[in-house]
């Protein structure tokens, strides 16, 4: 049966997390920004370029921030799960828990001038870009105070001031858009890059290859990041891709395969990619990651993979646990301090949910706003053209 074949392949997900242990000197919690060097557990694999070094420069402050941000994202996704089951979030809800390392690692390597554009699994990316929890929950529940004013929902989070170009429902459609953003950045001499994120399912879309060709032809500073969580909805990569080496699929475009569950490796790869893209044009980053939830809240996530596989990844490769071990082994924080931090975060998330629940839904007139820019004068009719008649602003 298909599932038994799955379990033998699931061993590929369970790579042990070995961390290098320097001599342990008691360091003060969170304010220390003196450099620490950590070796990534898994080496990078490259295609048509050199791999970055496995030694990542970081600091206690940064690792602690990783922990805090990832714990916050994890809590948010779990809260969203409960809200969806309570029918306060309607529509579709695609959760990112398990993949948090990608969002925080990427942010650590870039600035807010660099643009990020992603698919519908965008809640944590939004938080990574500086989005507030209350804005996220409001948007999920379709309230006026949401980041897209309640009109977008789960799949359409945006944050203009942080160059976060959102949240896209149609699979793969954001990739050419991302390359267009990169084109604008190059044209404006911004010295910034665009990260266009897509999944292993989207990797089979024709538009990806069109975008790759154009970006390579015009040397655009575009970094195409394949978030390979190994399942396109319910379809495993080996069943949908002839070559699941997504970092090589760019052919003439260099690529790098990264352990996406290791925030430090992600940071290193993104830093490397940004330098590369600014000098040489596009590069593909394949992030080997995993999602614990199903594709969306409508998907139990267990019909196409075994529960053993999911719990196995959770035990061996969980991004937050990995950072927790680092913090403990380097004496950056104690277990109690971390647990307290998690408690605080839980409260922070609960407060945000409560606040979001209080916000109003958008006014009915919002149905017609933001379709066209002013002066278009188009009329929109309701039933039989006699009742509801609005001139679009």
């Amino acid at each position: 049966m298909a599932l038994s074949r799955l379990s033998s392949r699931s061993n590929t997900f369970l790579k042990p997390a070995i961390t290098a242990l320097p001599s342990s000197i008691r360091r003060h919690v969170s304010t220390d920004s003196s450099p620490i060097t950590i070796e990534t557990a898994v080496p990078f694999t490259s295609h048509l370029c050199e791999s970055p070094s496995r030694s990542v420069e970081t600091s206690s402050e940064e690792i602690l921030a990783f922990f805090r941000d990832m714990a916050r994202m994890r809590r948010m996704e779990i809260a969203a799960d409960s809200l969806y089951k309570a029918k306060l979030i309607r529509g579709f809800c695609h959760l990112y828990d398990g993949q948090e390392a990608l969002a925080v690692g990427m942010e650590a390597a870039i600035t807010r001038k660099d643009a990020i554009i992603t698919s519908y699994r965008d809640h944590c990316t939004f938080i990574g870009r500086g989005g507030k929890l209350v804005d996220a929950f409001s948007e999920l529940m379709g309230r006026k105070t949401g980041c897209s004013h309640g009109k977008g929902g789960s799949m359409h989070f945006y944050k203009k001031d942080a160059s976060f170009y959102g949240g896209h429902g149609i699979v793969g459609a954001q990739i050419p858009l991302g390359c267009g953003l990169a084109f604008a950045q190059k044209y404006n001499k911004d010295e910034a890059v665009t990260f266009a994120l897509y999944g292993d399912g989207a990797a089979n879309q024709g538009q990806l290859f069109e975008a790759l060709n154009i970006s390579a032809l015009w040397d655009l500073p575009a970094i195409l990041v394949c978030e390979n969580n190994h399942y396109g909805m319910g379809t495993a990569t080996w069943r949908s891709a002839k070559s699941p080496a997504y970092f090589k699929r760019g052919d003439y475009v260099p690529g790098l395969k990264v352990d996406g569950m290791d925030a430090l490796a992600v940071k290193q790869a993104c830093k490397f990619a940004k330098e590369h893209a600014l000098k040489n044009g596009p590069i593909i980053l394949e992030m080997d990651t995993y999602r614990y939830h199903g594709h969306s809240m409508s998907d139990p996530g267990s019909t196409y993979r075994t529960r053993d596989e999911i719990s196995g990844v959770r035990q061996v490769r969980d991004p937050i646990e990995r950072v927790r071990k680092l913090l403990l082994s380097h004496d950056i924080a104690t277990e109690k301090e971390l647990k307290d931090m998690e408690k605080e975060i839980r409260k922070e998330v609960d407060d945000a949910v409560a606040q979001a629940k209080e916000s109003p839904v958008p006014d009915a007139s919002e149905l017609f706003t933001n379709m066209y820019v002013k002066d278009c004068g188009v009329e929109s009719f309701g039933a039989d053209r006699k009742e509801l008649k609005v001139t679009l602003p």
Partner: protein, 352 residues
């Protein structure tokens, strides 16, 4: 809230046989919901033609709406298989298969995702026979896609794109209203020697239950059906919207207005004669669909009927449709052409 009201109408079962309805099959059968009826049709199609294939995203395990359950187990993975996530590729591949004389039943997971394949459908499938002077054709192609509102679908799981396809000579567009209709129509579409786009109202996949005969039967294409007879006004619709329209007809009857309800079934090419005959009898026409009103298929029906029945019309043709906005998220109840909007339009048309 309006959302709850809207949804409760959809739970009604289907128009009964008592209103002078003309039915292809009056046999009883097992009560089935829409996805089971479609599943049966697919089983029969694959069984009766060894050169027919079903493929699309996730169809192997039964599909996201379970329409393809059991097919892979029964007919094998060579005939029922999953494709990668690439609509343009899937439809193009289907056209090629059909051009070699096979029946390709392609599933597009949601009609909202059909646009990457739009070029293949419009420029390749629809024109193949024409441009090759009848040397080649892809008549064996049938594209199935769930369409329409579902209560919480938002922008990309609720669209009704039928109007785009009705504008393309060379393909057929068919939309069933109920399980019994769906099985017969789907078998006709698969066996029709022209490429067909078959939109399935996703709201009805589980909600609609009807007695469906178990044997192989086909319902003719391009034949509309009068599912409720009346004298004062003709209502034309298709798919899930007919349930809403029927509610409005029942309410209108209480106010003394006798409504005739027609299910178009095939939108391209559509049965002009049946609608014309009905409007010549009643003198009034109301069309209702979920898609936005401007440029929706109701416009084509309205213009044609106006040409044919101008002197018989007592009132302007009324269209009760979705608003001219993207399909909204929280505002779905305002956007939808609800029973009350239709009822108001019936009354104002009759009292014109």
């Amino acid at each position: 809230m309006a959302a709850l009201l809207g949804r409760s109408f959809r739970k009604m079962s289907f128009p009964s046989l008592s209103h002078g309805a003309r039915r292809v099959s009056t046999e009883t059968g097992k009560p089935l919901n829409l996805y089971s009826a479609i599943n049966q049709a697919l089983h029969i199609a694959l069984d009766t033609d060894p050169r027919s294939y079903v493929f699309g995203e996730d169809v192997g395990f039964g599909g996201v709406f379970r329409c393809t359950t059991g097919l892979a187990e029964r007919f094998g993975k060579n005939r029922v298989f999953n494709t990668p996530l690439c609509e343009q590729g899937i439809v193009g591949f289907g056209i090629g298969l059909a051009a070699m004389g096979n029946r390709a039943v392609v599933e597009i997971q949601f009609a909202d995702y059909i646009y990457p394949a739009f070029d293949q459908i419009v420029n390749e499938a629809a024109k193949f026979r024409y441009r090759s002077g009848n040397q080649f054709n892809c008549g064996g192609l049938t594209i199935r896609a769930p369409y329409g509102a579902v209560g919480h679908g938002g922008h990309y799981h609720s669209q009704s794109p039928e109007a785009f396809f009705c504008h393309v000579p060379g393909i057929k567009v068919v939309i069933p209203r109920s399980p019994r209709e769906a099985k017969g129509l789907l078998l006709s579409c698969i066996r029709d020697p022209n490429p067909v786009v078959f939109f399935e109202p996703k709201w009805l996949y589980r909600q609609a239950v009807e007695e469906v005969p178990e044997h192989d039967y086909m319902i003719p294409l391009s034949e509309a059906e009068v599912i409720r007879e009346g004298n004062d006004i003709t209502l034309v619709g298709w798919g899930a919207q007919l349930t809403i329209m029927e509610q409005a007809c029942l309410d209108a009857e209480k106010e003394g207005i006798s409504c005739e309800l027609i299910d178009l079934k095939t939108l391209l090419p559509w049965d002009k004669e049946t609608v014309e005959a009905s409007v010549k009898k009643t003198g009034r026409l109301l069309i209702s669909h979920e898609a936005p009103v401007t440029g929706g298929f109701g416009a084509e029906i309205s213009a044609t009927i106006l040409e044919r029945c101008f002197l018989k019309l007592e009132a302007p043709v009324s269209r009760v449709c979705g608003l001219d906005t993207p399909f909204p998220l929280v505002f779905e109840p305002f956007y939808m052409p609800t029973k009350n909007k239709i009822l108001d339009a019936i009354k104002s048309t009759v009292n014109y």
